[in-house]
């Protein structure tokens, strides 16, 4: 379980997250949404300890991530898989090496087992036979799928997706949404998807947290969100730029 307690985060004078609190239960499939620049990715990076909150605490499986040692934080992070907006694949490594890097460090698998897990992960994201390709040879959608393969290769308990479908065509978006759903149900994981794509919200989430002006504007089921009467939510759903809530 991830518990976010009264966290705030500012950059220079700009308040990005303002006293946010919510809980992510095991097995949740959450979409964190909001306008671009509202702090969704900052929230995601704060959850995994890449950014430290100015105030408040984040507790993962009863451990406050900002109070534990770096070694314990590293161990805790091994429970997570994170998919970055642009894949964040290591340029100097092949697709196979990108996926195998953490397997070499975090598991006791031998070379044969690692190769098998690389192949299986790539198969799950429909990217088989691409082990030897370099990231520069892949399209944006392929990079994101390899990013997902890299994350799921470690069988994480928590999957964090940072804008997994942004900038993709509708078919690729659907393909990524299906991967999120498949891995959520098959892997028995907790999924947190940061997005502003409504198709991803509809197809790949059961709970929605909407951020607005640094605070939580909405926290509820996806169905409730889609039928909400809250003017800010309605403006977001309708893409109404004239609304100044």
């Amino acid at each position: 379980m991830i518990s976010i307690n009264n966290i705030s985060k500012s950059f220079s004078d700009k308040v990005i997250l303002d006293n946010l609190s919510f809980t992510i239960n095991h097995g949740d499939k959450i979409a964190i949404i909001g306008q671009s620049g509202i702090g969704k990715s900052v929230l995601l990076k704060t959850i995994i300890g890449l950014l430290r909150p100015d105030n408040g605490s984040i507790t993962i499986d009863d451990q406050d991530i900002n109070k534990i040692s770096f070694k314990k934080l590293q161990k805790l992070r091994s429970k997570f898989g994170m998919v970055f907006q642009f894949g964040a694949l290591f340029d100097s490594m092949t697709v196979g090496e990108n996926i195998g890097l953490a397997l070499q460090k975090l598991t006791n698998c031998d070379r044969f087992e690692i190769n098998e897990r690389i192949s299986n992960s790539l198969l799950e994201v429909n990217m088989e036979n691409t082990q030897d390709k370099m990231p520069s040879e892949l399209s944006g959608g392929m990079k994101k799928r390899v990013g997902i393969a890299r994350a799921i290769a470690l069988n994480p308990e928590y999957m964090l997706y940072d804008e997994p479908t942004t900038g993709l065509d509708p078919i690729m978006t659907d393909s990524i949404n299906r991967l999120i759903n498949n891995f959520h149900s098959n892997g028995n994981v907790t999924s947190v998807v940061v997005t502003h794509e409504m198709k991803t919200v509809r197809d790949a989430s059961e709970r929605v947290i909407m951020l607005h002006n640094g605070k939580i504007q909405f926290d509820g089921t996806t169905d409730t969100f889609l039928n909400s009467n809250d003017p800010t939510v309605v403006a977001f759903l309708n893409g109404d730029s004239t609304y100044k809530g």
């Binding site: 890449l50 590293q74 997570f80 964040a88 290591f90 340029d91 890097l101 975090l106 890299r150 964090l160």
Partner: protein
């Protein structure tokens, strides 16, 4: 007006911030020394990359710095009262103690330092360093430690190569364009040679290697602001490394000689 008055203070504060963050990063790097098993595998790759990428330019600059020293020494000594063998001796001392370490370091700053800063900076802005952290890697031990160790090992090797080519260049220039006999040049070189000169050059190279790679890693690691930020980090690396080299050069001479 107020901004103009405050500008120097802003620069001074920023300078101290950089120094503080640099030493903080270096203390983390030193602490990660114990996790050698994580980065030892990457060392040969970094050493090869660092050495092979810089070798041609080190050879060329070494060769020509020896040649020009030879020609200019002969020009200064052309009165006829000073023996020709002095050319070999002066080339030997100049190349081993000053020219090779200094010129190699400045060249390596442009070639290796800039490349390290750009590579790590690009990894920072494209979230590859964040990805490493989420995969439970310590980016300091994974990215910085192997590069600094490679610099500490390969810079002295590069300087020894530059020494060799500097002396050869001096020999070539002395015998072809100045008309000094090969016997006189080699005699002067052997007569003036003291092993400490070469050791001193290697000590300098070791210090420059650590300084350049760590400064490049620092600016790369704290890159912000996309492609423009990477360019800025690369420029800062070259500028700060050059200044650090000349200061270190003086300090080492003052302390060791």
């Amino acid at each position: 007006m107020k901004n103009i008055i405050l500008q120097p203070f802003t620069y001074i504060i920023s300078l101290f911030e950089h120094i503080g963050r640099y030493f903080d990063l270096m203390s983390k790097t030193l602490r990660s020394f114990t996790t050698w098993h994580l980065y030892i595998g990457f060392l040969p790759e970094h050493m090869m990359k660092l050495g092979i990428s810089a070798l041609p330019i080190v050879v060329v600059t070494g060769l020509f710095s020896g040649m020009v020293t030879s020609v200019q020494t002969a020009y200064q000594l052309e009165s006829g009262f000073i023996p020709d063998s002095y050319v070999g001796g002066i080339v030997c001392v100049s190349v081993l103690m000053e020219l090779s370490p200094m010129i190699t370091a400045l060249v390596m700053t442009g070639r290796v330092g800039a490349s390290i800063a750009a590579e790590i900076g690009t990894m920072r802005v494209s979230e590859q360093i964040d990805a490493l952290e989420t995969l439970s890697f310590d980016p300091v031990s994974f990215l910085i430690m192997p590069r600094v160790i490679s610099g500490a090992i390969m810079f002295p090797v590069m300087v020894v190569i530059a020494d060799l080519f500097g002396l050869l260049g001096g020999f070539f220039a002395a015998t072809t364009s100045i008309g000094i006999s090969s016997y006189d040049y080699v005699y002067g070189l052997r007569d003036w040679f003291v092993p400490w000169y070469a050791i001193f050059g290697v000590i300098k190279a070791f210090s420059f290697g650590i300084a350049i790679t760590s400064i490049a890693c620092y600016f790369g690691y704290y890159t912000t602001g996309g492609a423009e930020g990477v360019g800025k980090s690369t420029t800062q690396t070259v500028v700060v490394s050059c200044i650090t080299i000349v200061i270190l050069n003086y300090l080492l001479a003052a302390i060791l000689l």
